[in-house]
Subunit: 209 residues, 2 copies
């Protein structure tokens, strides 16, 4: 099993390779990759040789092959069923987001406590909205792997508990509230602040130069 | 001026210190910080000594002091005016998000091309929605520093061009479309996929163990 630090790097490399592929590249060397995305080329070579993947001298890594290889290592080859708690502004934006419904992730259900929203289907992918009371039963029936929390902060912990009780092992928390989960469940916080702060740093430095 | 790589690390440290402060800590050593957040303690000490900040032997860094210091280095001490293009699901969720409207960032306007939305004020912060035709004039009048792009992908480039022409130097692109901007403008892509992929990796590995 891959360590968490290496998995974070592989996820980052994957985004870089996918971007290069979209720009029409077929091969890239560790040096070119490092220069383009501000990475460490020694570490790139070390990471890939650990998994038995080597670039061809003078040519580099085959981008299609390495994308498949990383996806296999990270376990991204299967499809993960995702459910969203909170069919509000954010929940609806996520349900319609094209990148969430291609390949690795499939949104299979939404949950809400507002009776006017329950019983409908939402968005381009016709996702059913169930009452949050039905969350435990529907999560099991639809074999949900990952829960997304997009409810108001005060309801976050309650919704997390419900996902965990129903057997979900991964949670993505969009609320500002900190949630407590057992050790066998992993949560990540989705937060734009870090990216916004990077932008602020640029804006203040651009003005200076 | 701080290099981009160091700025990324400082942004990351800042999140870690803010989290520790919320948990009630006053001091932390570089070693404790490294263990808690999977960082490199040598690099932490090197980064801070470069800026003339040293931990007290046996006690560590004063968390309040170091948060202020990092904010000053990154230029986060001033308030940045932010405008959102696209008053749809995502735009509205961002406008109401409490973390965007405290301290460093203030959302001052939204823009949309749907006549039924224009002329209203949205959300808990009463943010005015202008027609996207008024973007150049309002961005100058309200001294907008950062533009957020939350329109459909096909309109992303056009909206980016309008922000850039109006003098904005930082853009946060939420759409899947790639946008081209001049070299003096910085863009970041807001994308949850990397975090979702990390979750998928955990979920597939938890099942195995
Ligand atoms: N991470 C980020 O960058 C980011 C950005 C924007 C918003 N947010 C956060 O996302 C959350 C949702 O924001 P929004 O703008 O969509 O809010 P919203 O009010 O539009 O939507 C919340 C939805 O949750 C439902 N709800 C309330 N209590 C519930 C419960 N106990 N169980 C199930 N459903 C419940 C409501 O009926 C509503 O449909 C908030 O916590 C907000 O702070 C995070
Ligand atoms: N980065 C992410 O993780 C993420 C998550 C969800 C959605 N998205 C993306 O965010 C964008 C918005 O998503 P949404 O769900 O809010 O869509 P939406 O349809 O609810 O909102 C789009 C808004 O933009 C307005 N609009 C359309 N063309 C415009 C133009 N030329 N100028 C100004 N306004 C215009 C519409 O009137 C509407 O109000 C999409 O591109 C979507 O793919 C990204």
């Amino acid at each position: 099993c891959v360590s968490e630090v290496v998995a974070k790097r592989l996820t980052l490399y994957l985004r870089c390779f996918i971007q290069l592929k979209e720009e029409g590249y077929d091969f890239v060397s560790s040096k070119e990759l490092a220069e383009r995305f501000n990475l460490n080329s020694d570490l790139i070579r070390k990471d890939f040789s650990y998994f038995g993947t080597f670039g061809k001298r003078g040519v580099g890594y085959n981008i299609d092959e390495i994308i498949e290889k990383i996806k296999t290592i990270l376990g991204l080859k299967k499809v993960y069923n995702v459910a969203i708690a909170g069919a509000g502004n954010l929940g609806k934006a996520l349900a319609d987001y094209p990148k969430f419904n291609e390949g690795t992730f499939r949104i299979v259900a939404m949950f809400d406590n507002n009776a006017r929203k329950v019983g409908r289907k939402y968005g381009v992918n016709n996702i059913p909205i169930f009452h949050v009371k039905e969350l435990p039963e529907k999560v099991k029936e639809l074999e949900v792997d990952i829960g997304i929390i997009a409810v108001p902060a005060r309801a976050a912990q309650q919704v997390a508990d419900s996902f965990v009780k129903a057997g979900v092992s991964g949670l993505m928390n969009f609320t500002p509230a900190r949630i407590a989960v057992p050790s066998n469940v992993k949560t990540v916080c989705a937060d734009f602040r870090a990216q916004l702060e990077m932008l602020a740093y640029y804006v203040s430095n651009l003005k200076k130069s």
